[in-house]
Structures are given as C-alpha cells and as structure tokens.
Amino acid sequence: MSPTPTMSKSELELFQILNHEGELVDSLPKLSKKELKHLLVSMLRVRCTDGRMLNLQRAGRVGFVGTSTGQEAAMIGSAAALKKQDWLWSGLREGGAAVMRGLPLSEYVAQMYCNANDTAKGRQMCNHFQHKGSNYPSWSSVIGTQIPHGVGAAFAAKQRGMDEVHAIYFGDGASSSNGFHSGMNFAAVWKAPCVFVLVNNGWAISVPARDQTRAATFGAKAKAYGMPAVEVDGNDALACYEATRLACERARKGEGPGLVVLNTYRMAGHSSSDDPTKYRTEEEVQPWLDRDPIARLETFLIGKGQLKKGEVKTIIDELNTEIDAVIHEQEAADPMSWRTLVEDVYSEVPAHLRHQYNEFLRIEESYGEARPGDGAFPL
C-alpha cells in the first residue's frame, strides 16, 4: 500500500535500511553496538517525554504540547548524524533531538512550564526550546523563518573557516513558505554548508501534504534550485541517519547543500489543541500504527542479539523515572521575576521602559502585590 500522505509515487522509492519488518535491506551504517542502543533509547526518551508532557497538559500544568509521536526516527536518526559543532535549526518538533544533543531535560521541562528556570525567561509559549551549548537556536512560531537563518549561519561558517554544518529542519507545510524558497535558492547559489531536513509528516495542522504542492515528491523541488535530494523512509532510524550523514559529509567537504526528505507520519493531532478526527480518518492512521519507528529498530536489535526481549519495557520505566524526577523538581520553581517584562528588549533597559515598569510597579504595590526583586529601576 502506498503511504498516501507522503508524496512519493511508491514507497519503493524511499531510501530504506530497515524494512517494515525490521530486516536489513541495505548496508548497515557504521554505528557501534553502543551507538545503536543510544539511538533506540533517545527515541524512547522522546516518546516518554511527550507522554508525560501530554499528561501535564491534561492536568493543566503546562499550556500546550506538540508531540513528535511517530516521528522519533526522523528526528533522532537524522540528528544523530550531526557532529557536536554542527547546528540544528529547529522546526516545530525537534526538541527531543536537542535533548539528545545536550539540552538538559530540566531545561526542556522548565521551558514547558515557562517558569523561572526557563532559559528564555518564560517569554515563549510552551514547546519552544533553545540550547546555546549544543548549537540549538531559539526558534520562532512563525513557520519557515528559520530556513534562511540557517543558510546565513552556514554562509558565516564558511566565511569564517569553521568546520560546521547547519542542519535546517522544517515541515511539509513550511515548504510552502517564503523562507523555504529563498533559503533553498541562496544556499545553492552560495554553496552554503547546510542540509535541509524536510520532515514530511503528512500534515500541516489539517492540510494534507498532497495539498501543499503538486510536485510528485518534496524532493523534486531540490532539482529546481540545483541541489540533490533524497527521499527517505522517515520511520527507519538507520536510513534517516545515513541519508543525513551523507548530506552533511557533502556539505562539509564544500560540495554544497542538499535536501533530505524524511517521510513519516504525525500520529497525534497537530498539538494538544487539535482534534484530528475532524479532518482525517482512522483508516488513514491505521497502517502507520504498524510502521512504528521504535518497534522497527527494537525488532532489528533483538534480531541482532543486541537487545533482549522485554528490555524496552525496562528502559521505558527508567526513562519515566528520570523524567518524573525532573518534573518534580520543576514544579517547585520560583515565581517569574517581573523585571523580565522589560529586560532583554535591548542590551540595556532604556529610559522609557524603566518608566513604564515603575508605573506598573507603583500600581501593584498599592495592592500589596509586588515582591522582593521586583524593585523599581533607578531613573
């Protein structure tokens, strides 16, 4: 059966290393036993974290969750191919990849709570992560804007002689944005060391991928810009890894950018605010249940004797314990400092903002609600 929401003419065209049954159908990438296991655990961590965050959302503890369920191989497999010094420019759902690359889970959860421990100071809505330490820049909700940023940063890396590849993630929906067109074009013209990672999960909220474009595949778009593309089975972690690794290697050697299309499926709604039953059928979702990316890698590793039957269950329990401990710790954060209202707009708080803040504080104080640390600015 052809995976309708993906754009490929037939599934056979997709680059695969593990087939649906978890059997090796191409050569195994050079990954150690430990690295393979790490891939699996990282994917499981994404799934467990999503599950926990959804629970918190239902309990009213966090405002909004956009899960990556079903897309764990795409995100983790591809990001595992990046080197430490490379950058990951995020689309909507790559927070889990950032965790694998170094974003501490505590910061991830703090961001979901938008509490005082959040490195973005509670300014972004939930699910908008960043981590400077692992080159994962803050991203905007405005779809597609990160695409030219990644290209410009890749240009800068080249100009400055840095050995960096910039992996730019975005969705099928974002491929219609202005940022996609200018980003692809500039990258090719400049031979910028970047890799475009298009995660085609079949949907942009309620708009199916087949209605974003009439190109036969998303990969077909690369040709017009003068760069190579590869269509990948996005539920095959090893294929996602290998395709991204090859594209990065090319970019790193100065041979220019490439487009990697990871064809997967968004198993849940767009976010915790979305009800997908309004626009898609159970019959469409059903076949994807059998293509679960985690089960596929698990089957392969068990077959290879690198994983015991039932071991995944133990890993899940351990991960949930780890995540719950972090949640517990983040529940108790300090209240957000009010001064963050006016800080970071500029390098220094300008006079007019100090005035506005002090006015606000004067009124709050008259109700006895200002707290220590909320102090007025000297004018």
């Binding site: 809505m125 474009t213 606000f360």
Partner: protein
C-alpha cells in the same frame, strides 16, 4: 435573534455574506474541513462546497497576493490569516499592493477584499500568538481597519466590510471569541464602518478603547463608579478611517480622556487619538490625556496578565485623570 458568542457571530456573518453573494469566498490555512483553528469557518465548506471555502498551502504571502488578484477580477475574497502574528509574510502584499491599487491605477483597479485575523493576548500564546499589530496597518493609507468587540458588531461590521469596495483588515479579538455573548439577528444586517459605539454614557472621564480592552474598561468603570467617578466608554470599532468627529464630541463631553489598548504604546493607536484631541479640542481638556497600553516590549508568555492592561491599571488612569 439568538444569544451567541462573538466567534459564532463571525461564522454567521460569513455564512450570511456567502449566501447573499456567490462571489464571496473564504480561504486560508485550515479554514476548510477543520473550520479554522478557532472554528470561525466551521461548516462553511460542507454548506458551500470546496470551491467557496477552502484550505491553501502554508503561505500568507500567497494567500493575500492571490486574494488581491481575485478581488481585481470580480470575486469578493475573505482571506483568513490564522493568527495576526503570521500576517507579516504578507505585509508587502497588503501594504504595497492591496492598499495602493486604487490610488496607483487612478481608480481603474480596486481590491474589495477582507482579511480576517484573530489578534491579541490572553490565551498564553507567547510572542507569536498574541500580538496586536493594528498600528502597522493604520499607518497605511488605502486600508480600512476594523475591530469589533461584541457579537452584534462582529456580524454587522463583517458583512459591511465584505460589501465595502476597499480592502478591509478585520481584526477579531480572540480573547473575546468565546467569552462574550450577545443578541444577534438571524438575518443579514450591516453596521456602518467608521462609526463609534457608545458603550456606556458618563460625565467625568471618557475612555476610548476597542476590541478585547472593552470589557476590561467596563470592569474598571464599575470600580470607578464605586469611588464616585462616572465613566463615558467609547468603543472605536473602526480604527481607519476613524470617526474623528465622534471622538472629538466624546472628548469634549468630559474634558478628561483615557485611551486604552493592549498594543505597545510608542506610535500605538492611542498616540493618534491623543494627537487628534490635542490638536482640535485642547481648550476643552481639564487633565492631561492618559494612555494605558501594553509595554513597549514583545509580548511575553508567563507574565502576559501583567503585560496586558487590566482593570487596576485602567482604574488608576481613570482616577488620576478625574482627580487632576
């Protein structure tokens, strides 16, 4: 008559306009089968078919650019921008093209279209699901900018906007979508653009406001009343072109003016209202004109309830203005 939410009134306005005129059509991201992320276009695809209410690719620039062409060639497009925060990819098409078409063609070509978009804070949407960008558009001659605050006005102003011969930006206060209800006639009707609405008559201080700030001001006025201050509340509801005469009348009536909006202050819409009053009727003013606005910062998330003007801040301004 039915007692319905502002959201439902938008939906009914669209349905009424589509029934009335086959050239009216709705499109944008997720407006089709899903009915829009807020459900403003719910059931329009099933009622009018995919040719009249449909989804587009994810490109605001594409949505508005094509809407302009449709409007130039006999259709009455009602384009939705999912959140006002996402309108900026289409800024060029709105500001350089839609707004200037009539002028640059000497009136030969016109753009009778409506851009509907939810704006404003209060839903924990952070920087990019909360903004109030009306001032950018009010600085654009050729556009009309409308913001309803009641279900009755939402339907009547929307139908008027769709019938209007010029491009109208119709900004919907998403914080009020489900929180306000009101009586709305079942049949089609219009509320004239460029007219004010007197929300509550009062003698001491006039407060000009619009959109989601109207209920906040009403709460503050009730608190002021307890302190013996009578507030005159005016909902501007069409920001461009503004009913300037009406504004001046209301300003003169109390000689004391407060202007409230949730958008940032600097070069915000309140600056224009304040300047209008100062230029024309300063001799009637008995107190400095005061503004209560959002901070001159991007929109926060966790502290959004402090960013947004609340009844405390509005009350403080009313009291200060009354006491001056």
């Amino acid at each position: 008559m039915a007692n319905i939410t502002l959201l439902k009134a938008v939906n009914e306005g669209l349905r009424g306009a589509m029934q009335n005129d086959p050239s009216v059509l709705c499109f944008g991201e997720d407006v089709g089968p899903k009915g829009g992320v807020f459900l403003a276009t719910e059931n329009l695809t099933s009622e009018f078919g995919e040719g009249r209410c449909f989804d587009t690719p994810l490109s605001e620039d594409g949505i508005i650019g094509t809407a302009i062409g449709m409007a130039m060639n006999g259709l009455r497009p009602v384009a939705e921008i999912q959140f006002q925060d996402f309108i900026f990819p289409a800024f060029d098409q709105i500001v350089s093209e839609a707004a200037k078409m009539r002028y640059r063609s000497g009136g030969q070509y016109t753009v009778p279209m409506v851009i509907r978009t939810p704006y404003g804070g209060g839903i924990r949407g952070g920087l990019y699901h909360s903004q109030s960008g009306e001032a950018y558009f009010c600085h654009t001659p050729g556009l009309k900018v409308v913001i309803p605050s009641t279900p009755y006005d939402a339907k009547g102003l929307l139908i008027a906007a769709i019938q209007d011969p010029d491009p109208v930006l119709f900004m919907e206060p998403k914080a009020l979508y489900r929180s306000v209800k009101g009586e709305v006639p079942d049949e089609n009707y219009t509320v004239d653009l460029s007219t004010l609405r007197s929300v509550k008559e009062g003698d001491d201080v006039t407060v000009f406001c619009y959109g989601a700030m109207v209920p906040v001001v009403e709460k503050a006025a009730a608190l002021a009343q307890e302190k013996g201050i009578s507030t005159n509340i005016v909902d501007l509801r069409t920001l461009l072109p503004l009913d300037e005469e009406g504004v001046l009348e209301h300003a003169k009536r109390t000689g004391r003016v407060v202007i409230v909006h949730e958008a940032p202050r600097f070069c915000g819409y309140g600056s224009e209202v304040s300047a209008l009053i100062a230029e024309n009727v300063i001799e009637y003013m008995e107190a400095p004109i005061k503004r209560v606005t959002g901070f001159d910062t991007p929109f926060p998330n966790t502290l959004e309830h402090h960013y947004l003007p609340d009844e405390r801040r509005v009350l403080d301004a009313i009291e200060q203005t009354a006491a001056y």
